[in-house]
């Protein structure tokens, strides 16, 4: 159970679809890193995609970092603040966006954590359970960045 003043690092994507597994891969590295810096404040989780129940999970954290693979034209990775979005939901409602989760959390609980999205550039999305070399490089860079970001909270 997540408690207040906790930081949730939440990776999502399908590791069976090559670079779509970047979110889960980063969480694995963070979990290994945390064994050297045990912290009660940092909690990790993974799933195939975000969904409506995540509004309940994030409501119990003070800060949330979503970690996802990206097909956007970014260099290596990007780290941006997530604002609650009232944008209409298009396309697949079996999965929702970080902004949607934060918005739903706000509407349901009257509060929401500070939220960020760590987007890691991916390249291939076939049925294979391994990251491409480019994605592995981006993963390492994103991991270093996230460790620096989290260290003050250890």
């Amino acid at each position: 159970m997540i408690q207040k003043e906790k930081i949730l690092v939440y990776g999502y994507g399908n590791p069976g679809r090559q670079d779509d597994g970047l979110g889960a891969a980063l969480i694995q590295k963070i979990d290994e890193w945390l064994t050297s810096f045990p912290s009660q404040k940092i909690i990790t989780d993974t799933n195939y995609q975000l969904n409506i129940e995540d509004a309940a999970s994030v409501s119990e954290a003070s800060k949330v970092i979503f970690v996802d693979a990206s097909i956007e034209e970014i260099e290596n990775f990007s780290f941006t603040e997530v604002k609650a979005s009232d944008a209409r939901v298009e396309f697949s409602m079996h999965a929702v966006s970080p902004a949607f989760v934060i918005d739903l959390c706000t509407k349901m609980y009257g509060k929401a954590p500070n939220a960020y999205l760590l987007h890691i550039k991916g390249y291939e999305w076939d049925f294979r359970e391994e990251l491409t070399p480019g994605a592995q490089t981006n993963l390492s860079l994103a991991f270093e960045f996230l460790c620096d970001f989290l260290k003050p909270n250890l």
Partner: protein, 486 residues
Amino acid sequence: MSKKITIEPVTRVEGHGKVTIHMDDNGNIQQSRLHIVEFRGFERFVQGRPYWEAPVLVQRLCGICPVSHHLAAAKALDVIVGAGTGHGLTPTGEKMRRLMHYGQFFQSHALHFFHLSAPDFLFGIDGDPAIRNIIGIALTRPELAVQGVMMRKFGQEVIRATAGKKIHGTGAIPGGINKHLTIEERDEFLKGADPLNADKMVSWAEEALDFFKNYYLSNKDFIDNFAYFPSNHLSLVRKDGALDLYHGVLRAVDAQGNKILNDIDYQEYTDYIEEEVRSWSYMKFPYLKQYGKEKGWYRVGPLARLNTADFIPSPIAQREFEIYKALTNGKPNNHCMLMHYARLIETLHAAEMIRELLNDPDLLEGELVTKGVKQKEGVGLIEAPRGTLFHHYRINDNDQIEMANLIVSTTNNNEPMNRSVNHVAKSVMTGKEVITEGMMNAVEVAIRAYDPCLSCATHALGNMPLEITLVDKNDQIIDRRRSHEG
């Protein structure tokens, strides 16, 4: 000038799909087609892999219903390792798998109702799309939004406890299961702090059903007539005719309730079912061989299951089943929109079964795996939330998979979804010069009733808006409009 209207992609269903509606010069609907880009390469992908990897590998197919693929593959491999079909497992093996499966059903059906379909009921199918979603529900009926979210969460936790983890679960293995439920896990599900406990989930499932029943009373004409058409229905049923979502024999009934596939052993499904290829769709069209392509197509999923089953083996759901069956005097229900009613009865059944299983000591101890004389070939069928799911594997002397065939639930519903689209298009678009958002959503409402999972696209490849393209008889684009633009 005759026109072709394309709606692409369909919102609030998983994957990519587009709808093309052909109109003649007089504005009459000539033909409607739901095009689905289904990835068909997965069967080839598993070829050459050791058979015991399949239950984990197949979860790569879909992040929406991985548990269904996981269990269907495991059931096929039960046959291959000589553990028999379904009831050949140890009590612990079968009951842990059932608990996982009911958890999947519960969370999947809850998502569909609260997130995908309830907004249409609350705000109207031509309501403001800006609020026609669960955020709109959170603003207007917050208690419903909380129920939807927490029901999803409960089901996900059941899956995590039985499958081992949320991504690429490893719980089901050929011949059984790889873990027991711990006492702590059981107690958390049975006696967890409100609302995350089994009693509350049963109670909320009843409330969701009451919500729909009240909606139905107030909107009977719409529900009864929207995309109504007779069809055959197919699903697994327990040998005694009970609804069974995990295992059974394969039964089909026609629109009048006559058995047209009489409780066959699904290991022999290829003797009874064929798949037709049509040039305009990547997704095949299954049908019962005996009745041919024109008459042998069928529906699967909640509506079909409650049409093929004689009763439901859990008391509250059975009571509701009797009320539901009385609507059609015990005959099959062919009302597309009553699929929502059937789905909510199944949600209630899943909640009851979770509660019953959690009190079963076999979950906590006992043999996990059964093995016997290895076979070369096995078929695993399961009722996925969206309908009957077929997995069929054959292995070689090196224990590698040399043949795989999958018929997924949405493929089984291909023909009825197309007919539903055509029915609604004729009803709301005939003679119309302007296609409104409400008309577009009406078409989507018909498709969404089946809760299709249209492809295996990853979420990262996903977001795009709804788009309509008008094309003349020469396939020249006359107009294109994205959803929610002016």
